[in-house]
């Protein structure tokens, strides 16, 4: 398992170093700095072996987070853990940067002691960790409190503590989808998929058992097979075929596998209930039609049309189109019908921003690009794709929440007393059109 964990700043100075195993020496700290951080060439793999020692790293802004081992350990687990650790640190002190890490180094050591034991990941749930490790040092605890903590850290429902009470039982569901597209210049969809997340914010008393229903084909059909009496009647379409879904650890996976029921006891506060992926019948909110003409060696003409493809009553926000320009661009003249377009030399792109755009609209931008006379032929421009950002108020995959029922047998509030909010947000992931 993990033999040691190091945190470096961008210069390669060690900020945190925690060794868990005897086979990792101090020289490992330097080996990573010399061979990876200070490497002359950019390092081309997140896993590197130096002198029979393996280094796994993740970089967040200027901070290098590096796990070391000499064993044949589970690589997926290591990266998953490193990301979890970033998440935990983030929830304790915000942004991961040198300043914050130095300011909280005692806390980080304390966390590392709890997160890993002999290199084996232990409890990494922020909510639980916060009950006994705080930035203000350790709280003094009574005996009952400590047993409560230890039970929770190791317990079956490690993600929720007992005895939570709210005056108003409330829950919020956000269905957030990011739409990914790669389109050829001729308008052929090369690949498209939606990766969606269901985020839940729960303020519920006690230990509530929740049941969650969605319009996935498999789930709906198995439901219908179960109660065959109503099966004949309802043959509504509008079900989607989810390729794959993953759940927060609170969801009972075996129940999902056998009964296709999503049932769980939620953590308190905000968490990601579910993640899913869909590739079929995606309604792409936008279409980009590029037209690039090279006129001689010093001039280019670009025309880009953006079409919105959803109900006219809906409104897309934060629409942004990035049209890349060659490296030797000397000047750009842009004309657009709507929104604002500017040439950003630092990004080598024309950025076209449209604050709001209704459905079924079609807007155009045209630009003339002046080029310096390219001397070096080898540095050919590779025409990166045109990318788009947007936010739309619907789920592009057609995902729908059908119900979320709350059962709490011990306390006296019922499903009807819970106030529920559902919201759909469609965002752009990598939404690219080649030109």
């Amino acid at each position: 398992m993990i033999g040691g964990l190091f945190v470096y700043n961008h210069k390669g100075e060690v900020l945190i170093s925690r060794v868990y195993r005897d086979d990792i020496g101090r020289n490992a700290v330097d080996a990573f700095r010399v061979n990876v951080i200070h490497a002359r060439q950019q390092v081309r793999s997140p896993v590197n072996m130096i002198a029979r020692t393996s280094f796994f790293h993740v970089k967040r802004s200027n901070i290098w987070l590096c796990a070391v081992s000499k064993k044949n350990l589970n690589a997926a687990l290591v990266f998953q853990f490193l990301y979890k650790m970033l998440e935990v640190m983030g929830s304790y002190f915000g942004k991961i940067n040198e300043e914050n890490i130095k300011n909280n180094f005692v806390l980080i050591y304390e966390l590392l002691d709890e997160l890993l034991d002999y290199g084996y990941p232990q409890n990494t749930d922020t909510g639980v960790l916060k009950t006994f490790i705080t930035q203000q040092g350790v709280k003094s605890q009574t005996k009952e409190e400590t047993t409560k903590i230890t039970n929770q850290v190791t317990g079956q429902i490690a993600w929720r503590r007992e005895g939570i009470k709210y005056r108003r039982n409330e829950l919020f569901l956000d269905v957030v989808e990011s739409v990914n597209l790669l389109m050829s210049p001729q308008g052929q969809v090369l690949s498209a998929h939606v990766s969606g997340r269901v985020l839940m914010k729960s303020y519920l008393s006690g230990m509530p058992e929740c049941k969650f229903g969605i319009n996935d084909k498999v789930i709906v059909e198995s439901r219908r097979a179960a109660d065959s009496s109503s099966a004949a009647g309802a043959t509504k379409s509008g079900h989607i075929a989810i390729d794959d879904c993953q759940f927060h650890q609170c969801v009972k996976l075996s129940k999902f596998d056998t009964e296709h029921a999503i049932s769980f006891i939620p953590p308190d506060g905000e968490f990601e209930l579910m993640r899913y992926r869909n590739t079929k019948d995606i309604s792409l909110p936008f279409r980009v039609i590029p037209l690039v003409r090279e006129i001689g060696r010093t001039k280019m003409e670009v025309k880009v049309v953006v079409k919105s493809n959803f109900k006219p009553s809906l409104l897309a926000q934060k629409v942004e189109v990035r049209i890349p320009t060659p490296l030797n661009t000397s000047g750009v003249q842009v004309i657009c019908m709507k929104g604002k377009a500017r040439y950003k030399a630092s990004d080598n792109a024309i950025v076209w921003k449209i604050k709001r755009m209704g459905g079924m609209k079609e807007w155009q931008l045209s630009a003339e690009i002046d080029l310096l006379n390219a001397t070096d032929k080898a540095k050919k421009w590779t025409r990166p794709p045109i990318s788009m950002n947007f936010e739309v108020p619907f789920a592009a995959s057609g995902f729908k929440v059908r119900y979320l029922k709350v059962f709490e047998s011990k306390l006296n509030y019922s499903d009807h007393d819970v106030i529920k909010w559902v919201r759909y947000i469609g965002k752009s992931g990598l939404y690219e059109t080649r030109c």
């Binding site: 230890t150 879904c245 993953q246």
Partner: protein, 955 residues
């Protein structure tokens, strides 16, 4: 609340100041000071001198401070063992603290302090903590057992911690169970004694319980359990099927490590099921979506997933064959993800999707990253070779790319076009003209060699082939060998095709190759051509211009047994490196190889196999007849090698070979003669026996006398070696049921600089065995029989022993494990294969001694991190007797030193292939510790094992 100020102190006299602060009366000041110490420690400053002062702060009630002090202790205790002992009392007291958090903290820390004196104090508190009422303490104690095992494995076994750990598997708390599983897995991989290893194997019952606990564990606990379950192979198909059903839900977990470990378990279990059954197909279908989902996680995790998918696609291509599009490269994927995706893309290419793939590849070939572009170009070539219908399109795409004139693109394209020519000869030669235009831009050896090959191969269609080759010839001496070899061959081809006007050229290249080159390969090839051309040009034509075999479709597939092993390591580093763990992990763990389980043959298949066996062996024991392949199941290819060895006649009854017929007397070793004499006099057979080879004695004696004789024989052969020191026990190499009645036990010996293999052969079959012969497969040290096996026909129930002298000049090939030796023994019934481990000490040569100074400088020369230290346990030997004992095995004691009752022996040994191993043997109160240093770390485990065996043998 800003701790960053602690990082900035770099003044002189800082340590002194810290010392004062640590001893301050005020609590807050002490705490500040400890924080500063930790900060200094982090940046690598040596603050070990503050040890006593920091330890003084340990008694504090403040938990935060305590944690910091413990952190300090873990770092420095090893360097100051005598002072660390001061902390023991506090540790023991903390283990009894009413606060479970403190109890756990103490037991967690104490396990990380690797000081022998402290370890002794650890046992009692640890035993208590393993039975603590609080689950938090128990889960910490479970891991602590693994820590302790790493420090002192024998102690853990003696104190019965393994049993206690096993009890924790039934704990009510899921996290305790998960940690116990993790600890057991780790201990199991490095268990010292057989008993411990047996105790730690996973039974079906246990696995069943763990799978039930799976749902309640944290994500990490689920990974531990799945990884442990993967080591278990169920005995029946039903069991495998139900295990798969229970693991499948994990595929929907949000944690990629859980998903990959579940995939590993399922992939392994699938091997046990009937291929093509409905269940297998539906399971395979379930695997694809989760794998694809992994590709939307963070880049690093994507990379791990892609490396694994690469394996999975090779093992079971059907899983992802419809998911081609997800492997299309995105513009801002990091380069490592791009390269991996490209690799998988090609593996998934088929006639159905080639159009899409080709369009993508063309796009990639215009990107910026040089490596990626090269790989894309190469991929286009691979597409052409894989999908014949698309070859034409691929070639035209390559030609388009050549037109871009981007240097590295052109070179790469030429290399792959050469491969296309080899796959589809006489089809695309029209493009040669275009290729020749780019001749000047080629500066990489591979591209040049490819181009030269093309010119030579199609010399008759290129009008100016001679001029082109001549232009290359001018810089002949500066070319790399690969190019030189190609050039030589190409010119000879040209000459054979157009003999009239190229005579001068061929003479020039031949003289360049034979007279001016230093490379032996080049010179040899030059001479061969020269002689061929001068003696028989027609034959030369047949040889040089012979039809070439077509290249195969998939050139870069992993070798099947390696692939099988890697599938067992899905999710782990081995699967990321695509190398077996033994290639990058030190120590004993590496020696264990995992392999995919093989399915028990169904009834029909079994009878089929028996029939096949019966055809070859028309004898009574057909029920024992298993196909020979099953003896060494995973290494089909090696078996192939063995079979290639000429065993004259395979398994037929007529196979009495000249080898066994030849009397072995003249070359018999001294030991044998000696034995022969002894035997004769002992048995009182009299007569002019001495000139008879002793092996023939049994035949003379016959009947019941034979067994007795064999016994005496065995006993005698042991006597001389007992004087010499250490003799290993006979090991069972080939059990009778596998050898169709022939049972072989044996051992390796070294006597008088002669390496010998002692074989005791027993005939348990109903018929006479005869016609014995032996062969070795290539092995790490080039072991080979120095003379044929001399064994006379064996009557039923008869035993015979023979000594086979070995030499070490045979073919060398590195084996896994290093000392593995695969042997084939033939008799009149069949050929049998078995493998055995050669104890490394028989390979130590008599020249292993060296001068003290040489020893010292060699010791220093070898970097310290290649030193390996192990504890060998306790023995009653005195240093002298050890030294003598080891000397008898060619382990030479160079120097000896004794400090405070600790004896140090410095020893050296030299392997027959010249590898030097230096050793430091520390004897402290009967406990032996061995440190080894060598430039070849792979021999360590063998040497350690031999030391153990030698020490144990005469204890």
């Amino acid at each position: 609340m800003t701790d960053s100020k602690y990082f900035t102190t770099t003044r002189k006299g800082e340590i002194f100041e810290l010392k004062a602060e640590l001893n301050s009366d005020r609590k807050d000041k002490r705490k500040e000071a400890v924080k500063k110490v930790i900060a200094s420690m982090t940046v690598g400053k040596d603050v070990s001198t503050l040890f006593p002062d920091v330890v003084n702060c340990m008694q504090a009630d403040n938990l935060e401070l305590k944690k910091l002090v413990y952190l300090y202790l873990m770092n420095y205790a090893k360097t100051q063992p005598d002072k660390a002992i001061m902390a023991v009392n506090t540790f023991v007291r903390d283990c009894e603290d009413p606060n479970p958090l403190i109890r756990a903290l103490a037991v967690r820390t104490i396990g990380c302090i690797r000081v022998d004196e402290i370890t002794a104090y650890l046992c009692d508190p640890l035993r208590k903590c393993l039975k603590d009422e609080d689950p938090y303490v128990r889960k910490t104690a479970a891991v602590c057992v693994a820590k302790l095992h790493d420090i002192d494995p024998l102690l853990v076994e003696e104190q019965g911690f393994l049993d206690m750990l096993k009890d924790l598997l039934a704990d009510s708390n899921p996290m305790v169970v998960a940690n116990a599983v993790a600890a057991m897995t780790e201990i199991g991989e490095s268990a010292q004694t057989e008993a411990a290893a047996r105790m730690l194997t996973w039974s079906g019952h246990l696995v069943n319980k763990l799978l039930t606990a799976l749902n309640e564990c944290t994500e990490w606990g689920q990974v531990f359990i799945l990884d442990a379950v993967a080591n278990y192979t169920p005995s029946e198909e039903n069991e495998a099927q139900s295990m798969i059903e229970r693991v499948c839900p994990r595929l929907a977990h949000a944690n990629a490590a859980v998903v990959l470990s579940a995939v590993k378990v399922i992939m392994k279990l699938l091997e046990l099921l009937t291929p093509g059954s409905d269940f297998v197909q539906s399971t395979v279908k379930k695997l694809s979506a989760p794998l694809v989902t992994l590709l939307s996680s963070e880049h690093e995790i994507q990379y791990v997933a892609l490396r694994n998918i690469n394996l999975i696609v090779q093992k079971r291509p059907e899983i992802l064959k419809h998911e081609l599009k997800v492997f299309f490269v995105k513009y801002n994927d990091p380069i490592y993800v791009k390269l991996e995706k490209l690799d998988i893309l090609i593996r998934l290419t088929s006639a159905a999707n080639i159009a899409n793939v080709l369009a993508e590849l063309k796009e990639y070939a215009t990107e910026v990253d040089v490596d990626f572009v090269r790989k894309a170009v190469r991929a286009i070539g691979r597409c052409a070779i894989k999908v014949e219908s698309a070859a034409e399109r691929c070639v035209s795409t390559l030609l388009d790319l050549i037109q871009t004139k981007v240097n590295y693109v052109v070179q790469e394209a030429i290399v792959v076009i050469k491969d296309i020519f080899r796959k589809y000869p006489n089809k695309y030669e029209s493009v040669i003209g275009t290729l020749c235009e780019n001749l000047d831009t080629l500066d990489e050896p591979e591209a040049r060699a490819s181009m030269i090959w093309i010119i030579g191969e199609y010399a008759e269609r290129i009008d100016n082939a001679d001029e082109l080759l001549e232009s290359f010839l001018d810089g002949f001496a500066d070319e790399q060998t690969s190019v030189q070899l190609q050039l030589l061959t190409a010119v000879v081809k040209l000459f054979l095709k157009r003999p009239t006007d190229t005579q001068e050229l061929v003479q020039r290249v031949l003289s360049l190759a034979t007279q001016e080159a230093d490379n032996p390969d080049l010179r040899d090839r030059g001479y061969i051509y020269w002689r061929l051309l001068s003696t028989d040009p027609a034959a030369a034509k047949q040889v040089v211009l012979a039809e070439k075999p077509l290249i195969s479709e998939e050139t870069d597939l992993l070798e099947p047994s390696l692939l099988g092993e890697l599938v067992c390591h899905i999710g782990s580093l081995a699967s990321v490196y695509h190398r077996p763990p033994s290639a990058f992990v030190d120590g004993r763990v590496a020696a264990q190889r995992k392999g995919l389980p093989s399915r028990a043959p169904t009834l029909a298949e079994a009878t089929g196999a028996a029939d096949a066996g019966a055809e070859v062996v028309p004898t009574d024991n057909a029920q024992n007849a298993k196909p020979a392949v099953s003896v060494i199941p995973t290494q089909d290819s090696l078996i192939g090698d063995l079979l290639d060895i000429d065993m004259s006649g395979g398994g037929g009854g007529s196979g009495i070979t000249q080898q066994s017929a030849a009397p072995a007397v003249p070359s018999q070793s001294n030991a044998m003669d000696l034995l022969g004499d002894g035997l004769d006099s002992l048995l009182g057979l009299g007569g002019p026996a001495p000139q008879q080879p002793p092996q023939q004695q049994p035949a003379v004696g016959g009947g019941s006398g034979v067994d007795a004789l064999a016994d005496i024989f065995g006993g005698l052969s042991a006597t001389p070696s007992a004087q010499a020191g250490f003799t290993p026990q006979l090991e069972s190499w080939l059990p009778a049921q596998r050898g169709k009645g022939m049972q072989i036990d044996g051992r390796f010996l070294r006597r008088g600089a002669q390496l010998q293999m002692e074989l005791q052969v027993r005939n348990n079959a109903m018929q006479q065995l005869s016609g014995f012969a032996i062969q070795f497969n290539k092995n790490s040290f080039g072991l080979a029989p120095a003379q044929p096996l001399s064994l006379n026909p064996l009557a039923p129930m008869q035993t015979a022993t023979t000594l086979l002298p070995l030499h070490t000049k045979g073919q060398v090939q590195k084996m896994e494990p290093l000392l593995n030796l695969q042997v084939a023994v033939k008799n009149n019934i069949d050929v049998f294969y078995f493998s055995c481990l050669v104890p490394i000490h028989v390979l130590f040569t008599e020249e292993g001694g060296m001068d003290k100074r040489v020893f010292l400088s060699t010791w220093k020369d070898i970097p310290a991190d290649s030193e390996s230290q192990t504890s060998l346990g306790s023995y009653s030997h005195s240093p002298d007797s050890v030294s003598n004992l080891l000397q008898s095995c060619n382990v030479f004691t160079i120097a000896r030193r004794s400090v405070d009752g600790i004896e140090m022996l410095y020893q050296s040994m030299k392997l027959c292939n010249g590898i030097l191993v230096l050793a430091e043997l520390k004897i402290s109160g009967g406990a032996f510790t061995l440190s080894l240093k060598s430039r070849h770390a792979e021999v360590y485990s063998g040497v350690q094992e031999s030391y153990l065996k030698i020490l144990k043998s005469s204890n």
